[in-house]
């Protein structure tokens, strides 16, 4: 029985150690403001990104993209120094919530950005709204974040699953054929993208001859591909990303589907960092995306050149998202002359940001707080022993319907 004592001694010690730092919870519940003096000359930006787990490479690219832009303005905006505090969320939304609370309570950040997984964005949503923290979503694409769950404080500069799927639907009907097979990874985002695709494809007059939803992280597509091979579709629309995309596109060719059906998908199916692993199997894929390495415009030229010089590798879609997010933040702070004390003012300034991005013209939809952007139809071609994406069509001003 005596032994329990040691536990309580530990608890007491623990409490004492913790009490050594900072204000108490009771005093703090009034909100931020305790350390106003220290942060007067700087703007604190919190970034919640995955640096571990399955999304680690996306998190790194987003972070590198942001740093590249901040570097280009010498980490200064509106006369203030920019301080970026990064927190690793892994692929776990609960971890992300914990990190966000830490950024709010401990670091007293002024603006939050990041979130790769949509679940993360939904997890932190209520925390952000109750704390009136301006939040710029720089990747997570779940539709509801700028629809049912939209908030004055949440703005999204990346994409919505609707934009990705919808842009391909009509184009596929007009250019590929009127019968299509849909295969998508079984998670909320995969389902949303394929639903948006099918809606627009059917509206145009096409027929979906079959659908299949392999689990996320599925390692053998042979069974599904054999089923698809015996359908009489004109093409296959597939939504997969990361290692799933590599396996699907490779096995699609190995099982002889490439010669029978045109493969369609999103930009992630043949993204910049995957094509080397996919190899020649990627050739001929049509994909819808809001940016590509080979887009020809002045901003993109500047961006890709600077990125390759800084990191010695090509930027990905996520690098671009990070770069744009940093630019939006800088322009917001500039517009406020560095006064970030009022969240309402931050949000107002952010709403007004408009510029020419490497992806084309960038502007927010004032109603949904979601980006209005051009979508590009890409074709993967072979060039000098490697595969490249080239733009074959453009759909201008794709705007999420917001419901």
């Amino acid at each position: 029985m005596k032994i329990t004592k040691i536990g309580f001694i530990c608890t007491i010690l623990f409490v004492l150690v913790l009490s050594a730092c900072g204000n108490s919870a009771i005093q703090q519940s009034g909100g931020s403001g305790g350390e106003a003096d220290a942060s007067e000359d700087k703007v604190k930006i919190g970034a919640i990104l995955p640096f571990s787990g399955v999304y680690a490479s996306l998190g790194k690219d987003l972070s590198d993209g942001m740093k590249l832009y901040f570097e280009s303005v010498d980490w200064e905006a509106g006369g203030k120094r920019i301080e970026m505090i990064e927190e690793d969320t892994g692929a776990d939304p609960q971890e992300a919530l914990k990190r966000t609370r830490k950024l709010i309570d401990q670091d007293d950040i002024d603006i939050l950005t990041g979130a790769v997984s949509t679940a993360v964005a939904y997890a932190i949503r209520d925390e952000i709204v109750t704390n009136k923290l301006p939040y710029l979503t720089s990747h997570a694409g779940g539709n509801d974040l700028t629809r049912e769950q939209k908030s004055d404080y949440i703005w999204r500069s990346s994409f919505s699953s609707w934009q990705i799927g919808n842009s391909m639907g009509k184009w596929a009907y007009e250019n590929i054929g009127d019968r299509i097979y849909v295969a998508a990874a079984d998670y909320a985002f995969g389902r949303e993208v394929s639903a948006a695709f099918m809606e627009s494809y059917k509206e145009a007059g096409g027929e979906v001859v079959g659908q299949v939803y392999p689990p996320l992280g599925n390692n053998d597509y042979a069974s599904y591909l054999t089923t698809i091979r015996d359908s009489d579709a004109d093409g296959v629309y597939a939504f997969f990303a990361g290692s799933d995309a590599v396996r699907f596109v490779q096995q699609y060719e190995e099982y002889g589907l490439k010669d029978k059906f045109q493969l369609l998908g999103s930009g992630w199916l043949v993204s910049e960092d995957l094509r080397e692993s996919i190899g020649n199997a990627a050739e001929g894929v049509h994909a819808a995306s809001f940016w590509d390495y080979n887009l020809e415009n002045e901003e993109n030229g500047k961006f890709t050149e600077a990125y390759e010089e800084a990191y010695d590798r090509r930027p990905t879609i996520e690098s671009l998202e990070g770069y744009d997010a940093a630019r939006i933040l800088v322009e917001t702070i500039e517009a406020l002359d560095g006064d970030v004390s009022d969240p309402e003012e931050i949000v107002k300034a952010m709403a007004a940001v408009e510029f020419d991005s490497p992806r084309g013209p960038f502007a927010f939809d004032q109603n949904t707080h979601h980006v209005i952007q051009d979508m590009y139809i890409l074709e993967t071609i072979q060039e000098e022993g490697r595969t490249e994406n080239s733009m074959i069509d453009q759909i201008e001003n794709v705007q999420d319907p917001g419901k």
Binding site: S52, G53, V54, A56, S57, K60, D186, R191, V208, V209, G210, Q211, V212, Y213, P214, P215, G217, N218, N219, D220, A222, S223, Y224, T226, T227, R229, D230, S231, D232, G242, S243, A245, V246, R247, Q250, Q251, E254, Y255, G256, D273, L274, S277, I278, G279
Partner: protein
């Protein structure tokens, strides 16, 4: 959402169904053999050392990554990768056994579980530092690339090679177990670990060699599976869980059981995905639950002491 399934079945009815069934059977076999190649090292180590090596997935991963480095950067040779990677992994396994695992034989299962999990965590971050977080893949050598036609259906040649590789490994293990002195020792160890000592064999040496052999098999599996499964962060834990399931379905301490279970899981999962794709997620674990409730020691497992 699932309504379209009927749609899709009505179209397949017109095509010759037998062809599809044969095709799926081959798919299932090749997937099953892939599972066997991945699991056999784990089964061997568990069977003889009684150690549940949760770092098995990590050894497999390191094998795959080393194979990638060899094929992508240094020599471009798949065959050299197939030789180098198992050796590198064997060396790592040797160090791991001599410096860490060695201490835990007297501590019991739970300590080994915790230790090997700790090792898996450490390897996870080491792999991240060395090979980054991008998705990588090993290219199949030209001679094994391409597809062949069976019963009017196209198959990747490499899948058929994997079936052969699986059978060769199974036969090899069977031969060693039943026809060599080493096999006799191992069989003795499988049924009664103390008996090895009684035979006057250096137990410590047997344990080390078996663990290293498990490492070789894991590294080999890593290279063989990489062209199909790819290399990506967290791959080792996905693989580990799958391997554990196969191991348990087959029954602990039985290589024949692992072999049977691999084929069973491969074939049933492939047909399950074909017939009821909406239940794909449930398949493996449901199968495991049914088998364990039906046969509490797995398909061919022997009674294992509790603990």
């Amino acid at each position: 959402m699932y309504r379209t399934l009927e749609n899709n079945q009505s179209t397949t009815l017109e095509v010759d169904k037998i062809d599809i069934l044969i095709a799926q059977m081959v798919n299932g076999l090749s997937y099953g053999m892939l599972l066997f190649v991945i699991t056999c090292g784990l089964a061997l180590v568990f069977g003889i050392l009684g150690v549940l090596n949760l770092a098995h997935g990590s050894l497999y991963m390191i094998g795959g990554y080393v194979g990638y480095s060899v094929t992508a950067t240094y020599t471009q040779s798949f065959w050299l990768a197939l030789l180098t990677a198992p050796l590198v992994v064997a060396f790592i396994a040797l160090i791991m056994e001599r410096t860490l695992l060695h201490y835990t034989y007297k501590l019991g299962h739970l300590s080994q579980v915790l230790l090997t999990l700790g090792v898996a965590y450490v390897f996870h971050d080491i792999a991240k530092i060395i090979w980054g977080t991008n998705v990588l893949s090993i290219r199949v050598p030209e001679s094994l690339a391409g597809s062949v036609s069976i019963a009017g259906q196209l198959f990747p040649l490499y899948r058929l090679v994997i079936i052969a590789v699986g059978i060769v490994i199974a036969v090899g293990i069977w031969w060693v177990q039943n026809k060599t002195r080493w096999g006799a020792i191992i069989r003795a160890g499988l049924s009664d670990r103390e008996m090895i000592g009684a035979l006057g064999v250096n137990i410590s040496l047997v344990f080390t060699s078996v663990f290293v052999l498990g490492g070789i098999l894991a590294g080999f599996g890593g290279v063989v599976a990489a062209p199909i499964l790819g290399l990506y962060p967290d791959m080792e834990f996905q693989t580990l869980i799958l391997a554990l399931v196969v191991l348990v379905i087959g029954g602990l301490g039985s290589i024949a059981g692992t072999f049977t279970a691999s084929i069973l899981v491969g074939v049933l999962e492939t047909f399950g995905r074909y017939l009821v794709p909406e239940l794909s997620m449930f398949l493996v674990f449901t199968l495991m639950a049914i088998i364990l409730v039906w046969r509490p020691n797995g398909l061919l497992g022997k009674q294992v002491a509790e603990g």
